[in-house]
Amino acid sequence: MLPPVFGVLFDGIAYGMLLFLMSVGLSVTLGLMNFVNLAHCAFAMVGGYVAVLLIRNFGWPFFGTLPMAFLVAAVVSILFERVLYRPLYRRSDLDQVLLTIGITFVSVAAAAYFFGTQQQPIELPNYMRGSYHVMGLDIGVYRLFLIAVSAVITILLIGTIELTRFGAQVRAAVDNQRMASGLGINVERTFAITFALGSGLAGLGGALAIEIVGLDPNFAFTYLIYVLIVVAVGGLGSIAGSLAAAVLIGVSDIAGKYYVPQLGAFLIYLVMLAVLMWRPTGLAGRR
């Protein structure tokens, strides 16, 4: 029999993985281009609604919708990047904030208009429900699945960044943008691809999140705070940092609620403040 602390750790890590998927894209694009994209969660919401639409209206299986959630969110984000974001790269942070908040407003209204204001429940296949009982712990099947998906994605991401030519370009651009373009790296194109990748991951996170946190038009605002916290705590531009931050936030949230419920509403904010005072650039931040 294992003590409950393992159960808390497991739940916290699973919750953290959800946060990781939703925020890693923002972290990389912020680090790469210094573009403040507060509409990031709107792309996550796109993924969520794609999954709901495919399951409900076209009878797709849940697993089939996940790649589509990724793809559609990525494609939509490319459109926005081309038309609205690109002209603003050299403008002030504040203009970027205003633009992306505006886009978020529009996305929330559009979701309410097309899908209604209600919750969008999905029914998972039966084998994804319930839990395994292992040595006195309840291991939720879906949470296990979340952790597995995130592990695969983390390995793919780190592999891409560390081992491929494209990854080397991204790293170079994050480190020193001017030097990178001086060496002939097309920074804008690198950024566009990274941006689409990050938004696609957010879309995937949005689809995976429905089962845990639900989906309604306010999703784009509700999870923005959590995503920002993970990004800031992890440090800009770092995948490993985002992963560590997401796990830290997830575990401390769950542990706080379990051991000191009175602090339930405060704990993640306290953790964030503590980390940022200790390391203003985040766990893995360099600048």
Partner: protein
């Protein structure tokens, strides 16, 4: 000083104007609700209830046309709610204030109702004290202690010996918790513990684990509607604490359609108390549900819809009694003691407290051949608000 002299002259002129406009033959009802933001879905329910009543009964009362003016307050925002109510009175010259989904907004609205002497109908907000804030204010929804106290008493009478309460840590949660504990203890039950859960809370697994460790015979849950009921239900199922293994008691939010659907089989056995269940068996309710489904794209009505519907019924009937006069004193007199049959069943307005009196239904999610149905299994008639009735502090 001169400016304020002028100002009062303008005020006087405007008052005269507003007096004149009443002769025009329209009665304006100003509806203040959060049509946008995180409470938009419940506002939609209430608004649909209003629409259905007007579809079924026309827009004429006592030879006057009822006109609805909708205002969005966007969320919990009493300064804006108060301004909107004031603007409805001075700009749109409404005769009646209605809607009111959220308690702080409703309290702000009441101060306008009291000052401008406007009849006010609360169609959802559920804290007891609101109706005390204006002598012209009445309510067609419910109060939370009314529901949870009835549930507590019922549960203890069913032989449930002990309970662990899990409520959202904000004012409605505190009301719900107190009501349940008072009712449950009074009928002989024992509370083994209570937890107040963070309001903005996407993941309930830790709280549910804590409940499981204590292994109570039952748990009582109050969480706001929206995304949380389904998340809570799933957390229960994951822990093997689904309603088949333990008695799960809650308010009606816990068994809303979205929650039941996303919980699937794990929802079976959840017991909830509420003032409305769309499966309630009456001809009137069947007609109401059918009408609701036809205007909402096959959504089912909930307590918000019936609150809006009955609010309009109260307004129509009171206006008929006053023969179309909108004087707040006369309207509230007409509302006091009014009894009627609603889609929710029989209900009335308490003549002294102006608060709602109604049947509280106990429902249970049942498996009917693979389809999940939240069926009414018991009912407690003539429930008054326990705070106003002096049963609670």
């Amino acid at each position: 000083m001169k400016r304020f002299g002028l100002a009062s002259a303008a005020l006087l002129a405007a008052c005269l104007l507003s007096g004149a406009s009443h002769a025009a033959g329209a009665i304006k009802v100003g509806v203040v609700m959060p049509y946008s933001g995180q409470f938009a879905d419940l506002a939609k329910q209430m608004d649909n209830g209003i629409k259905i009543y007007m579809q079924q009964h026309g827009d004429k009362v006592a030879d006057k046309t009822i006109e609805i003016i909708r205002k969005d307050v966007g969320g919990i925002d009493p300064p804006t709610a108060k301004r909107l109510a004031q603007e409805l009175v001075v700009r749109d010259q409404v005769d009646i204030l209605a809607g009111w989904l959220l308690t702080p907004n409703a309290i702000a609205g009441c101060s306008v109702s009291a000052e401008a002497k406007k009849f006010m109908v609360i169609m959802n907000a559920a804290t007891s004290i609101i109706t005390d804030k204006s002598p012209y204010c009445t309510r067609t929804s419910f109060t939370l202690p009314m529901i949870t106290m009835a549930l507590g008493q019922w549960a203890a009478k069913q032989g449930i010996k002990n309970d662990y309460t899990m409520t959202a840590d904000y004012a409605p949660g505190h009301d719900a918790e107190e009501g349940f504990i008072d009712g449950f203890k009074e009928a002989g039950g024992e509370i083994v513990g209570s937890v107040r859960m963070a309001v903005k809370n996407p993941d309930f697994s830790a709280y549910v684990q804590r409940a499981k460790d204590l292994n109570p015979q039952s748990i009582f849950v109050f969480i706001p509607g929206g995304s949380q009921p389904a998340a809570f239900g799933k957390a229960l199922a994951e822990r093997g604490m689904s309603a088949q293994a333990i008695k799960v008691l809650g308010t009606q939010e816990l068994a809303d359609d979205a929650a039941i659907k996303s919980m699937g089989n794990d929802a079976v056995g959840i017991i909830t108390a509420g003032n409305y269940n769309y499966n309630y068996d009456s001809a009137m309710n069947k007609e109401f549900v059918a009408a609701y489904r036809s205007i909402s794209g096959d959504e089912n009505p909930d307590f918000g819809a019936v609150g809006g519907y009955d609010g309009m019924h109260l307004i129509y009937t009171a206006l008929r009694k006053t023969d179309g006069k909108t004087d707040a004193q006369e309207l509230i007199a007409a509302a006091k003691g009014m009894k009627w049959e609603s889609p929710r069943g029989p209900m009335m307005i308490d003549p002294t407290t102006r608060d709602v009196v109604q049947t509280i239904y106990i429902s249970k999610v049942e498996d009917r051949g693979g389809k999940h149905l939240n069926a009414v299994i018991d009912s407690i008639p003539d429930v008054h608000d326990p705070v106003h009735a002096g049963q609670m502090k």
